[in-house]
Amino acid sequence: MSTPSPDPAASGTETLPSSPFSEHDTLTAAEAATLEADPGLNRMVHHADMIYIKVGAVLAVLTAIEIALPELLDNGKIYGPLLIALMLIKFVLVAGFFMHLIYDDKMNTVVLGATMFCVALFIGLSLVDLGSRSVVDRVQHGEIVAGGTKQIVLNAAEAAHAQEGNHEDAGAHEGDAEGEAAAEGEHATEEDAGAH
């Protein structure tokens, strides 16, 4: 938060950015002088150190949980999502506290946020591809062909072939009947002509 601060001399107070180093948003000149006179125990910096040590302890605990998770959980399905959740918490803690993003100018957060969005998109699309790999493999091995799986297509082809055979038989029968009818007709015409 690097905004120009008001003239300390005019107001008698000095506006400080919100950070782990400052317990208060404003310090009077007297307070600042007191702190300056007490370099051995600069309570604000000490306060910051304690915050960082606590964050470090939380990170260590989260790492221990990550490692112990397979022993703690029977359900393997939630193992992956839980690990990712723990990873994100650790990521936010390090980026927020150790890299000072929560105290610093928001521009830095925008830079990291935009990058992480792109990386998430990148890895996400890769995972989508990974999820469809089994189908791609079956296509490459010829198990899936145009129209469905190989077995489905074979069954369909057999059914079509069988149906064609039936049609041919039926067509042949129809042809015989037509031929007989035509022959009968010709015969009748000849008989009529003989009678005349």
Partner: protein, 215 residues
């Protein structure tokens, strides 16, 4: 690069990593710091690509048309050992942030102490990685064993190179501090190196979970 307009009047503001200092830039923050953030952003994309590549190949040791071993490198991971390495790197991040607070309050002795601790912990991590790689080679997994192994070594190797560069920067800061060339007013230099170090830690948090822990 970044001219400072006003210096904070109190030690509290001075000790605030230079946050109390207004920079004469469009963003109000120093160009050096923003430059480091942009670099880290681009580096993040690099690691995103490497992680994606490993994910795509980790269960497919043999790509179409490529010969090699059919075994997956994840079968020889030593999770307990890598967990210890991860813990060491996390603690190095804590040491780094304590170094930043030390220079912020003008404590040069503690600055050197924490910088040295950070570099030492980073060196332990690198030593562990070298040991891990050696074990993998003994198990029969070299860089060209299959695409899965190649993707793994490329990803973790790049991270190792980053850690090594970080250690060199930390040692450089220590030397500069001994020479008295890092006054309290230039604490931002330590903070910028700290940003790089924490980034390396953040990337390892991703790699450790995605590569080592998720089956």
């Amino acid at each position: 690069m970044s001219d400072t307009l006003t210096a904070p009047a109190s030690p509290a503001a001075e000790s605030d990593h230079g946050h109390g200092v207004v920079h004469d830039t469009n963003t109000g923050i120093s160009n050096e710091k923003l430059g480091m953030w942009v670099f880290l952003g681009s580096d993040c994309m690099l690691f995103g690509g490497l992680i994606s590549t490993y994910l795509l190949y980790k269960n497919r040791p043999l790509a179409p048309g490529v010969t090699g071993s059919t075994e997956r490198i994840s079968e020889v991971f030593d999770i307990a050992f890598t967990s210890a390495s991860s813990f060491v790197l996390l603690m190095s991040s804590l040491a780094m942030v304590l170094a930043v607070t030390s220079i912020a309050r003008g404590d040069h002795h503690r600055l050197r102490l924490w910088l040295g601790t950070t570099a030492f912990l980073g060196a332990i991590f690198i030593g562990g990685q070298v040991y891990e790689f050696t074990e993998f080679v003994r198990e029969g997994f070299g860089y060209t064993t299959n695409v899965s192994a190649s993707a793994f070594f490329t990803l973790t190797g790049f991270h190792g190179v980053h850690v090594t560069f970080g250690i060199l920067m930390l040692l450089t800061l220590m030397v500069l501090s001994f020479k008295g060339r890092i006054p309290q007013s230039k604490s931002e230099a330590v903070e910028i190196v700290g940003l790089y170090w924490h980034f390396v830690d953040v990337v390892w948090i991703l790699i450790f979970t995605v590569v080592y822990l998720i089956p």
